[in-house]
C-alpha cells in the first residue's frame, strides 16, 4: 500500500496528468472547446488545492526516494500550478483572438506542468532529468504554435536546438556525477565533499544545464528571440512556471546534493549573478519592443534570484522562494496586459511607441500594467520590493556585500525601462487610431487578482515568510509537520 500512499502525496501531478489525457480524448471525439477549457481549469484548481494542502504536510521522500514532498517541493508545486491556472485562463481569450486556440495547446500545457511538478519535487537526478525534458519538449512546441509568423518558427527552432544542446551538457553532468559518487540520489551525492576532478566536472556541467534553462548570462542568448516569437501568454508561462520549477529544483540540488561544496558553487553563482544583473538590465534599457524588454527583464530577475542562491543559507533559500512567488505574479500580470494590447493589431503590435497615449483608453488595464511594472522595478509597496529586499538581505547576511551592492544598483537602473513604458502610456500623444475593446470577464478578473496578490504580498509578507523560513531550518529528513 506504500505506492498508494505515495500517489496520494503526489496528487497534484496525478490530477493534471489525468486531465491532460481527458483533454486529449475530448479533443479526439467531440472537439468541444468549452469542455476542454473547463476540464483544464477544474483540474488545475483541484491540483492547486491539493498542493496548497501539501504545503502543510510532512517532508518525506516518496517513490523509493525518487521524489520528495512538503517544504520547498510543495511550494514549487503550488506556485507552478497557480501560474499554469492563470496562464490557461488568459490564454483562452488571447489565443482565440489570434485564431490559434487549439485543443493541443491545453494538452501540452497540462503535460508540461506535470513535467514542471516532477522537476520541482525531484529527489534524484534521474527524476530531475525526466521532469526537465517533459517540460522542455512541451515548451518547444508551445513556442512555435503560431507558424504563420516567421518569428514563431524562429522561436521554436532556436529554443529546440539550443535546448537539446543544453540537455546534452546536463546529461553528461549527471553521468560524471554518477561516475564520481556511484549514485544519482541527491542526499547520497551530498555525502561527498570532493570526489576528485570528475566530481567537479560533473557539478559544472549540471549547473551549465540549469543556467541555460533559467537563462542567465552567458547562457541567455535564446531568451529574447524565443520570448518575442512565442504567443504572449505562452511566453508568460515559459518565463514564470518553467523558471520557477527549474529554480526550485536547483534549490533542492544545491541544498541536498552539494551542501559540502557550498563555497565553490557560491563563488560561481556570484560571478554569474553579477554578469546577469548587469547585462540583463543594460540591454533591457535599449529595447523598444515591450515583449523583448520583458524578456531581458526576466534575465535580470533570474540574476536577482541567483543572488539569494549564492548566499547558500536557509535565509537565502526562503528569500528565493518568496522572490519566485512575487516574480510569477507580476510577470504573468505584465505579459497578460501586453497580450491584451497586442490582440487588437496582431502579434507585431509590441513597440513602446505604439503604446503612446493608450493609458486613457482602457484605464483599468493601464493601471494594472502600472502596478505590475512598479512591482517588477522593485518599488514598495509591491511584492517585487519585498522579494528583492529579502534576497539582498540574505546576501548581506552571508557576507556577500559587494554582490548586494551590484544588485541594488542594477535594480535602480532597471527602474528606467519599466517606467519608460508608463511614460509612453500616459504622457505621449498616440499617433495611431486604435479602438480598444473591453477584455472578457475572466481575463480581467485574473489580472485584477494578480494585481491584488502583488499588493497583498508586498504589504503583508509576514505569514508566508515565516512558512518559507520554516522549510529550511530543520535538518533535511526531520519530517517535522509544518504549522
Amino acid at each position: 500500500m506504500e505506492i498508494l500512499n505515495d500517489m496520494l502525496l503526489y496528487l497534484p501531478a496525478i490530477i493534471i496528468t489525468v486531465a491532460g489525457l481527458i483533454v486529449m480524448m475530448v479533443d479526439a471525439y467531440t472537439k468541444n472547446a468549452t469542455m476542454i477549457y473547463t476540464v483544464s481549469v477544474a483540474s488545475l484548481i483541484l491540483a492547486l488545492a491539493a498542493s496548497v494542502y501539501g504545503l502543510f504536510g510532512p517532508t518525506v521522500d516518496i517513490f523509493y526516494g525518487m521524489a520528495t514532498t512538503g517544504g520547498t517541493a510543495a511550494f514549487g508545486t503550488a506556485l507552478v500550478v497557480a501560474a499554469t491556472l492563470f496562464v490557461v485562463v488568459l490564454s483562452r481569450e488571447y489565443l482565440t483572438s489570434i485564431n490559434h486556440n487549439f485543443a493541443e495547446v491545453y494538452t501540452l500545457i497540462l503535460f508540461g506542468t506535470v513535467g514542471m511538478i516532477v522537476l520541482a519535487t525531484a529527489n534524484d537526478l534521474v527524476t530531475v532529468f525526466m521532469g526537465l525534458e517533459t517540460m522542455s519538449i512541451a515548451l518547444y512546441v508551445l513556442a512555435g504554435i503560431v507558424r504563420d509568423e516567421k518569428t514563431g518558427i524562429e522561436a521554436a527552432l532556436k529554443y529546440f536546438l539550443l535546448g537539446s544542446f543544453a540537455t546534452g551538457f546536463f546529461l553528461y553532468g549527471i553521468a560524471l556525477l554518477y561516475g564520481a559518487t556511484g549514485t544519482t540520489r541527491l542526499a547520497d551525492i551530498g555525502l561527498y565533499a570532493d570526489a576528485g576532478l570528475i566530481y567537479w566536472a560533473g557539478v559544472g556541467l549540471l549547473l551549465v544545464g540549469f543556467f541555460f534553462k533559467v537563462s542567465v548570462v552567458p547562457f541567455h542568448m535564446w531568451t529574447p528571440d524565443v520570448y518575442e516569437g512565442a504567443p504572449t501568454t505562452i511566453t508568460a508561462y515559459m518565463a514564470t512556471a518553467a523558471k520557477t520549477a527549474a529554480f526550485v529544483s536547483l534549490i533542492l540540488i544545491l541544498e541536498r546534493a552539494l551542501p559540502l561544496a557550498v563555497e565553490q558553487w557560491s563563488g560561481v553563482l556570484v560571478v554569474i549573478a553579477i554578469l546577469t544583473m548587469i547585462l540583463g538590465n543594460i540591454v533591457a534599457m535599449v529595447q523598444n519592443n515591450v515583449k523583448r524588454m520583458l524578456a531581458y527583464s526576466s534575465i535580470a530577475h533570474a540574476g536577482y534570484v541567483l543572488v539569494g542562491l549564492a548566499a547558500g543559507t536557509a535565509a537565502g533559500y526562503s528569500a528565493v522562494l518568496y522572490y519566485l512567488l512575487a516574480y510569477t505574479l507580476m510577470n504573468i500580470g505584465a505579459f497578460g496586459v501586453v497580450a491584451y494590447y497586442e490582440r487588437h493589431k496582431g502579434m507585431q503590435f509590441n513597440s513602446v511607441d505604439q503604446y503612446a497615449g493608450m493609458g486613457y483608453k482602457q484605464p483599468f488595464m493601464a493601471v494594472l500594467l502600472g502596478i505590475f511594472l512598479f512591482s517588477l522595478a522593485g518599488i514598495p509597496p509591491f511584492a517585487g520590493f519585498i522579494g528583492k529586499y529579502q534576497v539582498f538581505a540574505a546576501a548581506i547576511q552571508a557576507d556577500l556585500i559587494g554582490l548586494a551592492i551590484v544588485g541594488v544598483l542594477a535594480s535602480v537602473a532597471g527602474v528606467y525601462y519599466y517606467l519608460r513604458v508608463l511614460v509612453f502610456l500616459y504622457m505621449k500623444e498616440g499617433t495611431e487610431e486604435i479602438e480598444l475593446t473591453q477584455a472578457g470577464f475572466p481575463y480581467r478578473s485574473v489580472l485584477l487578482l494578480l494585481a491584488l496578490l502583488t499588493i497583498y504580498f508586498g504589504v503583508l509578507p509576514g505569514g508566508l515568510s515565516e512558512l518559507l523560513a520554516g522549510f529550511h531550518q530543520g535538518t533535511l529528513y526531520s519530517g517535522t509537520p509544518l504549522p
Binding site: 505506492i3 503526489y10 496528468t17 491532460g20 486529449m24 517513490f63 523509493y64 525518487m66 521524489a67 485564431n99 490559434h100 487549439f102 493541443e104 494538452t107 501540452l108 503535460f111 508540461g112 506535470v114 513535467g115 516532477v118 534524484d124 534521474v126 527524476t127 525526466m130 521532469g131 525534458e133 517533459t134 519538449i137 512541451a138 518547444y140 512546441v141 512555435g144 504554435i145 507558424r147 504563420d148 521554436a156 560524471l176 561516475g179 564520481a180 576528485g196 576532478l197 570528475i198 566536472a201
Partner: protein, 185 residues
C-alpha cells in the same frame, strides 16, 4: 545460476584471456563508434552522415553487450538503428532528389567553436586521466531483463511513468508541428 555446470568455471588464466579478448573487442568497437561519429560530424553529405550514424549506434550497442547489458543492447539496435535511423533515411530519400543533393552543411564560426570544443575536450581528457578509476569486472549473469523489469516497476517507477508522459508529449508536439490545423489562417 541455472543451466551452468560447475566444472565450466573458467580458470584464472582463462579468465585473464577472456578479459584480454573483451578488451580487444572493446577497443575495436570504440574505434568504430567514435570513428563513424566523427565521420558523421565532418561529412558534408547528409546521406553519408546518416549511414555513419548507423555504424556509430551499432558500435554503442556492441559496447552494451560487453557490459553484460544485453537487453539494452537489443533495444539500442531495435530503436535507434532499426527505427529512428531508417526513418531518417526514408525521410531523406523520399524528399525530392535535388533538394537532398543541395542540402549540404556549412561550417560557420570555425574559430570560436573549435576553441570551445577544444577546451571542453582538454578538460574531459584531463578528468579522464586524473580521476582514480575503480575498475569492476561486471558479474556474469543471466536475466538482466528480470532485474530491469523489477527496477522499472519498483525503484524507478516514477521516472518510468514520466517517460510515458514525455513520449506522449513528443508525439502530440510532432503532430501539432507537422500538420496544418483546419482553423489556422
Amino acid at each position: 545460476m541455472p543451466g551452468k555446470p560447475a566444472n565450466d568455471k573458467p580458470t584464472y588464466d582463462e579468465a585473464n584471456r577472456l578479459m584480454e579478448l573483451s578488451a580487444i573487442l572493446f577497443y575495436a568497437f570504440t574505434v568504430l563508434t567514435v570513428g563513424s561519429a566523427a565521420y558523421m560530424v565532418f561529412s558534408k553529405n547528409i546521406v553519408h552522415a546518416a549511414f555513419a550514424l548507423i555504424f556509430s549506434l551499432s558500435g554503442v550497442a556492441a559496447l552494451y553487450v560487453l557490459l553484460y547489458a544485453d537487453f539494452v543492447a537489443a533495444t539500442q539496435i531495435l530503436v535507434y538503428v532499426g527505427g529512428i535511423l531508417i526513418l531518417i533515411l526514408f525521410g531523406i530519400m523520399l524528399t525530392t532528389l535535388d533538394f537532398t543533393e543541395n542540402l549540404k552543411t556549412v561550417t560557420v564560426n570555425m574559430l570560436p567553436a573549435s576553441l570551445l570544443s577544444g577546451a571542453v575536450a582538454v578538460l574531459l581528457l584531463y578528468v579522464f586521466f586524473a580521476a582514480e578509476w575503480t575498475t569492476i569486472v561486471p558479474a556474469d549473469r543471466d536475466g538482466t531483463m528480470y532485474d530491469l523489469g523489477m527496477m522499472l516497476m519498483n525503484e524507478y517507477l516514477l521516472p518510468f511513468q514520466i517517460a510515458g508522459v514525455l513520449l506522449l508529449v513528443a508525439i502530440i508536439g510532432a503532430l501539432l508541428m507537422s500538420t496544418r490545423h483546419k482553423n489556422e489562417p
